[in-house]
Amino acid sequence: MEKTISDVKPKVFGVLAQFSSPKDVYHAAEKVRDKGYKKWDVHSPFPIHGIDGAMGLGDSRMGWIALFSAMAGCFGGFGLQYWINMFAQPVVIGGKPLNPYPAFVPVSFEPGILFTAFGCLLGMLALNGLPRLYHALFKSANFKKFSDDGFFISIEARDPRFNLNETRKLLEDIGGRNIEVVED
């Protein structure tokens, strides 16, 4: 790793290793997990079935976000109609009640769906810390293969167990290829 500005030592982001198949990266992930690393990640062109278990991840919190957005949309939609018909503009038409709630079902349901959809997309992005156009891994030319047919494991330097040589050795031992140190 030759530096152009030798007196400024760049911070190391972490170590990146490539694997050749979903199977390899899956078993490698199990080993990284068993070593007790926490700040690390698997990168793949598509979601690998069961990789969250192999990485020891907890459950996604998306369900809760969706539930609360759905309730906000539904109650908001119903509340809007109720408020308009009861308070903002109460008009009796054909002797019918001011609050004909069966007629309010569609416009309670639709905002519920709309809010859930926004909750899903924005919630997913928020949980993932996206959009984030800059990331240290994008400096690696080889990393571009993640969106094609490459499978990667990156272990970050901020992990307490991170040690440049040992971590690099671990990735080599579990079958990683093209191992490189990525700078921040």
């Binding site: 598509f46 079935h49 503009q89 569609p106 639709e110 859930t116 990393f143 993640f146 969106s147």
Partner: protein, 386 residues
Amino acid sequence: MVDRIGHAGTLSSAILFLFRQRWRTAINRFSEAMTIFAVMCAGIFPGIHVGRIWVIYFVFPIPNQMSVWPNFRSPLLWDVFAVSTYFTVSVLFWYMGLIPDLATFRDRATTKVREFVLSVFALGWRGSARHWQNYERAYLILAAISTPLVLSVHSIVSFDFAVSKVPGWHTTIFPPYFVAGAVFSGFALVETLLLIARQVFGLHKVVRMHHLDNMNKFMLLTGSLVGYAYAMELFIAWYSGNMYERFAFYNRALGEYWWAYWIMVSCNVIAPQLFWFKKIRFNIPIMFIITILINIGMWFERFVIVITLHADFLPSSWGYYRPTWVDIWTYIGTFGLFGTFFLLFLKYLPQLAIAEVKGVMPEANPHFGDDHHGSAVSKTSNSKGH
């Protein structure tokens, strides 16, 4: 109403996702794109119909200078909410599926401009497993809510007719009948477009014969449901004993517009019955012709439903509808709009769900090639316990 033809794309995509139909990956991106562009075309017509486009904001509950609020008891207002929600959710569903594929395009971009634009829309996606976990859950929830959404949208569209007290419209069969019709015509239009794209872009290995076979079977099923609905409408019109209702259907089938009614029946009910034969389900030229017939038939379905108005309660409004050149060119214009967007989509965006197609490959399974399936499974379940 005419452009409601292509609206079932999101439905087919979402329902097939929920049922874990892996062949969905061949058609989902197409059908979602088709839905979005069709709704954009459809959105033009209410704009024309309100007559005063500059006061279209009256349909939204926005505080205004007259302190007047929209009437939430009207199906027309439900339709505003249903269609705008449908469009927005379809776009979000489509975009969410596009994010990983946009990242693929970004990483293969050849020019700086393309790379910049694609980088912005790919949102910095880096295929992280931690991201995929949230992504997959969010996508599942989106598919799960899109399904009832689409059912509700077509039901609410049918309420525009069914809630009014017009003979021939005021029927309870309308919501399921519109939903079945939407799936039917949605699959037909997807197949029409897909058959062309498959030929032009050589997608034979992704869009396989058995995918087309499955779509044909769907059209057979939903076409039969639509046929049942037509028959049931006639039966109930007779069985109700209501003379106005009877006249409406007598007039539809045997009145001045008999030709439109029978084109509809031939195209929507009789043509798809050919799909009972396996040889026809596997014959590309014939299935292409049938999908075109279905598209025509579904257009005539809306024509027949709406044109019932030509002989309503006011003799002064009786007459024979002849489209003006404005009508015809407005309609042709929507084809142009749809075609423009669809071709731009084919040119600049991933036509197929790349990440999803990769994900359903046998090699994508982390236990691919394991001889002892039992041990591989127990290994996974053990590791999940950690």
